[in-house]
Amino acid sequence: MSPIKGINLQKIRQEADSEWKTLNQGGKPRILVGSATCGRAAGALEVLKAFKRELAERKITAVLTEVGCVGLCYLEPIVGIQKSGYPLVLYQKVSPQKVTELVEKWLQGNDPCPEYALGKIEGESLNGIPNLFELPMLASQVRIVLKNCGFIDPKKIKEYIANKGYQGLEKTLEMKPKEVIEELRRAGLRGRGGAGFPTWRKWEICRDSPANPKYLICNADEGDPGAFMNRSLIEGDPHALLEGILIAGYTIGAAQAYIYIRAEYPLAVERLELAIRQLGDYGLLGKGILGSDFSFSISIKKGAGAFVCGEETALISSIEGKRGMPRPRPPFPAVAGLWGKPTVINNVETLATLPHILRNGANWYSQYGTPTNKGTKTFALAGKVERTGLIEVPLGISLREIVYDIGGGIPNGNEFKAVQTGGPSGGCLPAAHLDLPVDYESLVEAGSIMGSGGMIVMDERTCAVDIARYFLSFTQKESCGKCVPCRVGTKRMLEILERVTQGEGDLEDLENLDTLAETVKNSSLCGLGQTAPNPVLTTLKYFRQEYEAHIVERRCPAGVCKQLIAYSIDPEKCTGCEACKKTCPVQAISGEKKGPHSINQEICTKCGNCYEICKFGAVIIQ
């Protein structure tokens, strides 16, 4: 295909720019309500309703917009208010009551309510409200992929275009595919699904394969439990992904792309469907895009819930309408993939990074990260950490900076124990590895993997053996059953881990576990089996004494494994407030008001409710 001349979005861009200008400087206040799935769970829709009601009652005209997630999930619901002539201010933990105050004091009055404010975006100083991007959790982040999330209306293509959207595509279409591949090689982008294979190389193999047609698949089957980067990105900025898909499709010579997305993400699917329709309306999809000879279409395929479908050959089987089981590679999908044709499968984040690289150039992109691990990576930071959320950091940053500077450390003054990267395919890294740089090679060397970006922090109240058992029970259930090492090996490993957590293990079990784990790792057919032992191997390596405590002392040091713990009440500390008595679902707690309470061990189901609710530290775990 020759470079396409004459495509320009000039007219649309002019319209988009002027509308964006009116939106921001037109005199009407602009209100942004973060209502991605996570925001909604925190009550964003009630906040939205409250704004509608307040604005109507007070007869204020304002532009009320639902936006995606800025990534500060622990402060949801988050609302941004831009009053004409003032900077955009983000407010945290907004409730319907706060909405009334914000409308009254700021929209109608002169008080920007700094007590509720989180930060402002650029602009002049405003009642001491700090700059958002200078706050500790954002200062060391570099937002490239997440740039628009939370700031533009994901339902409006023009807002994306006004923020330099589709400029990367325009540039791409002026280049020969070979030049695009070269640009990408210089940028050093590696697969953000976790394996880190150079993206340009995958494209080149596919492009050079003689067979036609070629296909592009976007892997949005974000199956790792504890990972939500792709969901957030699609909900907040779907056009970034679509632009990336168009760039990739043009370069590899495909005319059809599939987005394989989990059915558990209904809002993300809805946003994508709308965005695809908008592309069609603007002539950016379909036959002869903008009068050129480049034709392209994008279809959505909803996954039906199988973790193994994150593996590319299994994903292909699933699109073909078969059981999602992997097959041996080679041939790699880039040579023989969907319906036997050359197919490139790229992760959502990889694709959404492309517009930025093409627009700003390889030199710009490679200034971030390290020489072998260029650019940024998004992570879903969750678990026992103060500031949970979605972050984007330059590769090479240390785990410590992520957990402490960005994440704010461990809540309740507890001790850091481990950080888990890569979900069920990754490992748990202890405090001794906190200064490890986050790059593909260093994480593998330490026994974990980069993975797609789940990062779960664990504290002293997390049991290493229980975590290994948890991940194994997941991979065992998700094992497709095709190859023996994975099907039988994960089952046997899980049985051993269950014995240990129930206090029935012996030391020989640990030897067997080690052997089994190595065997499954080395002999399984696909990535699922090859990486499933990682949580076991890393916990055995870094937390062996904890395994031994379960086996030798029949004790769970973290106080998690039910069979090995008992709850009781310290009569000295108990004030007799009856909070535990009221919360106990099985009425196992007795005692008079203002007198010490006690727990009947025979009835207690060890649900831990009393432990959570007691404000005096009187409930103890033995």
């Binding site: 909604r40 990972a227 939500f228 909803k302 078969k322 997941f474 609710i613």
Partner: protein
């Protein structure tokens, strides 16, 4: 029901790649995939019933019994597990006398265990029908369940 399944099938080409989509639509319409529906889908796509059933049972989304009026979905993602999700699941199982995949005898609740909703910052998470509840504890959930008749 037979005729309604046919209505779904009419909108789809007779190609194998349509299979999962067809099954999703059948389930979306009826809440589950009945044995008869498997037969009709197989006829339409010119596949054997065992092939259709094989694909349907492979994926965790599909169910083969009628669901309850409300579906309680407990997230068992990593963040939820670390923050007490397992205790929440134990509680629901005891409270409703149900195992994941089952339905209460009065047809009021079905229970499902979900790999991850991706709302990890709000862990532990429970979704009832389309309502998302974050930072759930067994005692909070007890009150919430009461709202669903």
């Amino acid at each position: 029901m037979q005729r309604k399944v046919e209505e779904v099938l009419l909108n789809h080409k007779k190609e194998r790649s349509e299979l999962i989509l067809v099954l999703q639509e059948v389930q979306g319409r009826f809440g589950y995939i009945s044995q008869e529906a498997v037969g009709q889908v197989a006829d339409h796509l010119k596949l054997s019933q065992s092939e259709v059933f094989g694909v349907a049972t492979f994926f965790s989304q599909f169910r083969f019994t009628k669901p309850g009026r409300h579906t309680v979905k407990v997230c068992s993602g990593t963040a939820c597990h670390v923050r007490g999700g397992a205790r929440v699941l134990d509680f629901v199982q005891d409270e409703l006398k149900l195992k994941p995949g089952g339905t209460t005898q009065d047809g009021r609740f079905s229970l499902e265990r979900i790999a991850c909703f991706g709302c990890c910052a709000l862990a532990p998470v429970v979704v009832i029908d389309d309502d998302v509840y974050g930072k759930i504890t067994p005692s909070k959930l007890k009150n919430i369940l009461g709202k669903y008749g």
